[in-house]
């Protein structure tokens, strides 16, 4: 009898304890798995967040940076933007606006222009800081950092002696080494007279160039040197047309020249200085190095051929010898 009772008790004890522990373990395991699942879902949503900012424009004065643009939620999940950060790369000062509260459903856009412009106070900014280089990013509620388009437009259109505050317009650009070139502002200049360019500095925008015609070319070049060094372009810099033909003499090149405000090409050359962040229109017009032999006009090759255009820059960077070759646009010589 006692052995039966003992056995029953033993079974009861084992059953109760085991069941209790097992059920409880299952419940805890389920709780942890639930948390893990939620975490994975959050991570998936976080990774799915994708917003794009376009038409970005900065203005800066007296310690305030104003940003205007359009932000679009390109992800399938709703996005809440909570904070905007701005870093002044010139002064290495930063600022933020944590009162931003932009909620975007999937596919929604928000236009923060005009009175809706976003403002960030950045320490150390005094007066007009339009030449400073800024970078900025949004912080979303899920913890994503979304960089805004590109850095503050580098373009301070400085056509040699003419200052034009023209927005960059987000044209495609190529950055190689310390220089950035705007691919869509390539232009050519027919001659109005023997040494005067027609329609300078606007020129004719296009990629179809008359063949066998004396012509000059211009492109916008920006100094984007990461080490903040200034670049000096000397007279050995040139634009090189390479033709898809086997004989070299068909190639053409135009040395850089100095041009006055009215489009008159100087017979001598003065070095072009590009400070960090500065953009200048560089004109190529001479068949000979103007620093050595003076200016002489150059013709385009005979027509009906596509040519690749290279820019060969030469000079100094922060006083040290420097040279750079950049593949640029291609044009069709008519």
């Amino acid at each position: 009898m006692s052995s039966v009772i003992g056995a029953v008790f033993l079974i009861l004890v084992i059953f109760m304890i085991t069941t209790n522990v097992l059920l409880w373990s299952f419940s805890k395991s389920a709780q942890y798995n639930q948390a893990l699942m939620e975490r994975n879902e959050e991570e998936a949503n976080r990774n799915a967040e994708k917003i794009a900012v376009s038409d970005l424009n900065y203005t800066a004065e007296d310690g305030l940076v104003h940003l205007q643009g359009v932000v679009t939620n390109e992800s399938p999940v709703p996005v809440q933007i909570t904070t905007l950060w701005v870093l002044d790369k010139t002064t290495q000062k930063h600022g933020f606006n944590d009162l931003v509260d932009i909620n975007l459903k999937a596919g929604d856009s928000f236009n923060f222009t005009g009175s809706q412009a976003l403002t960030v106070a950045v320490d150390g900014l005094v007066g007009d800081n339009s030449t400073n280089a800024f970078t900025s990013w949004f912080v979303t509620a899920r913890g994503n950092l979304i960089p805004l388009e590109e850095e503050r437009k580098w373009i301070q259109y400085n056509y040699t002696t003419i200052n034009i505050t023209e927005p960059s317009g987000g044209n495609p650009k190529v950055i190689i080494g310390s220089l950035m070139l705007d691919l869509e502002t390539f232009r050519y200049f027919p001659y109005a007279s023997s040494n005067k360019l027609s329609n300078y500095p606007a020129g004719i925008r296009g990629y179809n160039v008359p063949g066998a015609t004396e012509m000059a070319f211009g492109c916008l070049v920006t100094n984007v040197d990461p080490a903040n060094r200034s670049i000096v372009l000397d007279s050995h810099s040139l634009m090189w047309f390479t033709l898809p033909v086997s004989d070299v003499p068909h190639n053409r090149w135009w040395y850089t020249v100095a041009v006055a405000e009215d489009g008159t090409i100087s017979t001598s050359y003065s070095d072009v200085v590009l400070e960090r962040g500065q953009t200048k229109l560089i004109v190529f017009a001479s068949s000979a190095d103007t620093g050595d032999t003076g200016f002489s006009r150059q013709s385009t090759p005979k027509g009906s051929v596509s040519v690749s255009v290279f820019l060969l820059f030469h000079g100094t960077i922060e006083g040290e010898p420097w040279g750079q070759n950049i593949p640029f646009v291609s044009v069709y010589v008519e």
Partner: protein
Amino acid sequence: MATRHNPPMARRISRTIFNRRAVSNAISATILTGAVITLSLAVFAWSQSRSQDYSKDFSETVDGETAKLKEKLVFEYVSYGDPSSDILAYLLNCGTIDDVEIKSVFVTNDTWLQHFSTPLLNFLDGTEIPDQDLDVNEEGYFVLSLPSNLTSGYYNIRVVTARGAAFDAKIVV
């Protein structure tokens, strides 16, 4: 006659004491059963107590791990050198649990390590966070004053929370 059928008292007592047969099957079974029940209850109670201890430990571990899993801190921005040899780290609690306390911060590179214990947390407006933790969607920053300027290079900043979660950021000096 009577004396022949009824032995004397002394003899009866002696027979009772020195009788080798069981008193009774029922009594012995009862005693044994009682002992087994008592022992079983004792074993049950002890097992229950042990399993409760185990459950408590396991529960704390699981709860701790679950809470740690819910923690998520993001570095919104980390700056160095403003003012000199100070690191400013701006954080956002984008997890799903409140009361994220920062227990330690480590600044390291390949050959060097600097440890900071419970740095002072401030709101972004510069006021001190009263409870010194970050609730969900709360932003804050701390300042690490380094004993000397950092040499140029790549540094890792690791924030360790009171629950044991770790979050990293990198800076280039």
